[in-house]
């Protein structure tokens, strides 16, 4: 592993089409010392994921253009498979079912408990480091 890969291993990719939510999540993760790469457009994240390894993704489900479910499906095709944390405004059973079918995923409904969320992100990062 080179230096660049080391850096990316501790980085969380954040995908949300709502600019103010995206920025607040960035601040929240930063307040816990977590490095974040934010994407306002899901397409841009997919382009990024196609070119570089991604360890942890925090994504919204219902977005314009590409939905979070599509992102989950694309992540399954990647190797190593990234850890995914889904954040949604609505407890949608279909979304939860699809997400868990794809793999072990943390599922948060907005607004969520900050401690639990940050713990989930830290855990995902730790697991990504090991694998």
């Amino acid at each position: 592993m080179n230096d660049a890969d080391e850096t990316e291993a501790r980085e969380v990719c954040l995908v949300d089409d709502d600019a103010s939510v995206l920025r607040s999540m960035q601040y929240l993760l930063a307040s816990d010392g977590i490095k974040v790469r934010a994407f306002n457009k899901p397409e841009e994240f997919l382009a990024h994921a196609a070119a570089r390894p991604v360890n942890v993704v925090v994504t919204d489900i219902w977005m314009d253009g590409v939905t979070g479910l599509e992102i989950l499906a694309r992540m399954c095709a990647l190797s190593p498979r990234p850890r995914v944390i889904v954040i949604t405004a609505r407890d949608d059973l279909a979304a939860r079912a699809t997400a868990t079918a794809i793999g072990p995923v943390a599922f948060f409904i907005k607004p969520f408990n900050d401690e639990e969320f940050l713990a989930a992100v830290r855990e995902a990062l730790a697991l990504a480091k090991i694998s």
Binding site: L28, S31, R90
Partner: protein
Amino acid sequence: MSEANKVAKGQREAEEPFYAGQTRILEMIASDAPLPEILTNLVLLMEAQEEGMLCSILVLAVDGIRVRHGAAPSLPEAYVKAVNGAPIGPRNGSCGTAMYLKRPVVVTDVLADPLWADYRHLAEICGLRACWSTPIFSPQGDVLGSFAMYRQEPRGPNAAETHLTQIATHIAGIAIERQRVQETLRERDARINLAAESADLAFWVIYPEQNTAWMSDKGRAIYGFDSKLALNRDLICSRVHPDERAAVHAAFDRACASHGLFESEHRLVLPYGKTRWVIVRGRCLEDEHGNLLELIGVTIDVSAQKQADLQLQLQREEMSHLNRVALMGEMTASVAHELNQPLTAIANNASAARRFLERGNIDPVLLQQLLQDMVADSQRAGEVIRGIRALVQKDKTVVRSVLNLNAVIADTLRLVSSDIVLRESVVITEMDRSLPQVEAVLVQIQQVLLNLIMNALDAVEARPPAERRIIISTRSLNGESAEVSVRDFGTGLPKDRPDKVFDHFFSTKQTGMGMGLTIVRSIVETHGGKIGAENAPDRGARFFFHLPAARGDSKSQAA
């Protein structure tokens, strides 16, 4: 004294009373004496001019077919009775034939003349032998009746008798014509009064010069005036509701100044506090020199109608409101999402700020940024709630404003964006940038759009996700109106009558009330617009409505 002298003396003696008699009869006509009395006097006057002469006047009924007894004071009653009601015709005695042919008919011997075949025995009984009849004409040349002279010996009329006949038919013509005109006037008056009473109409006349006014009994009842009270314009206007009085005065002034028409709908407040809604229409009358004589008009009490209208309006508002509440229920995903977004951002920013503070290394600029974001997101949440409240609120303040429909569509789509995404559907917009602006109630237009969009989403629900497309487009119709079209790719509308979907309680949906599109149509029509629905050529339905361009704004400022 010779026979000739006798006649000459008789004529001279008769001449003075004859002219006096004519004058007397004309005076009777002018003073509207009853027609039978006038005609009887005329016949007696004529009979007095000639020894052994009997006269009669028949009046043609309005149907133009039957004759009515006019005057025949010297003829036997049996004869008069037999003639009354007989039809006119080419062989109906002297009178019936004269009226039928519209020319004098001279029968010198009724016992020999074929015209008298049907009346011969009657004439014989009555001792009548000759009968000369002349039609009486109106100024327009219509036959009004006939004047006849009878003799007991068979002969034709002499010059004096022909002259007398001319005078008699002329005077009788004036009398009968005048009576007919007055009958027509009386009938018209009666008809107008009947119509006025049954329509709750009040008549009034204002004389601006004299500062007086007249009002029918019905009018006094509507305005609450005592039947004896002397009226004038100010008194009449004093009954007008204070809020509308100045406008009514101004309308009166305008009508008087232009000698034109007056029209106003306003409220009256009666002395005991009762309020009436009235429609007032009037016009100015001028004399032959073009001076204003009077302002005549009618007042119609429309209180009952107004009450019913208000009731209907309230019901419509109630339905409209229920529809919006129902729409809001269908939009739960969007509403939840719209509120959750700013709340999440606020919670995140607050948590972040607390953490930074706990770690003791917060940059004041960063803290400032976090707080600023929290304020902005709180405001955003407030906006969402205000938007929902505006939509669900009852129509208390229905104020029209100048709207750009392209912008309204974009805002409305934002309201339902989450539902569109959640239903895995796509809405494509094709906006005409030269769309004219319209004058409309924002919430109501949003309601129209939401109904059409939610319907379109329902229509495409059964299609595979890739085909769940809705196209919303706008276009300018010659700059005179703005058209909005919502097209889906669903199952389409009933083939026989696509516009049936606008009918009350028509619904193809399991959960539909069948009111949405009825309300949509009523909103569009209240705005002076039109709405329609059709099946698109390939598949799906297309709903379209257009609203007239806002006055003085046929070209839109580009959105």
